[in-house]
Symmetry: C2
Subunit: 77 residues, 2 copies
Amino acid sequence: MKAIVNVYLKQGVLDPQGKAVHHALGSLGFNGVNDVRIGKQIVLDVDSSVTSDIIKEMCETLLANTVIEDYNFKLKP
Amino acid sequence: MKAIVNVYLKQGVLDPQGKAVHHALGSLGFNGVNDVRIGKQIVLDVDSSVTSDIIKEMCETLLANTVIEDYNFKLKP
């Protein structure tokens, strides 16, 4: 089973990496980009015994810093 | 319009960040995790003039290092 966890900075938290990419895209001539935000995608290969409650606990304790980050996840069989 | 780009290491490319998280999950008592891979999720806020061909070009030239990384993306209205 795969658990796909997306971790991203909360709205309002400054994202310097995203800003840098945004600027670089402009320099390369890509127009029409208004904003860039960069987060993490964590793909866990887990046993079928791992429930979404356990994944949630993993996110809260290790995978996301909930002070500045939000997360969502989905479990795929 | 939002373009959501996922960039992840190709299979076979060592992922030390993923290995560290895998190990840390084990130390915290989370069992049943077989593998962890960590990639990037880049969320671009783009004008409606930006087509998927343009997003593809952004990925090839800047967002992904295609020597060691694969990517996929979807455009959401």
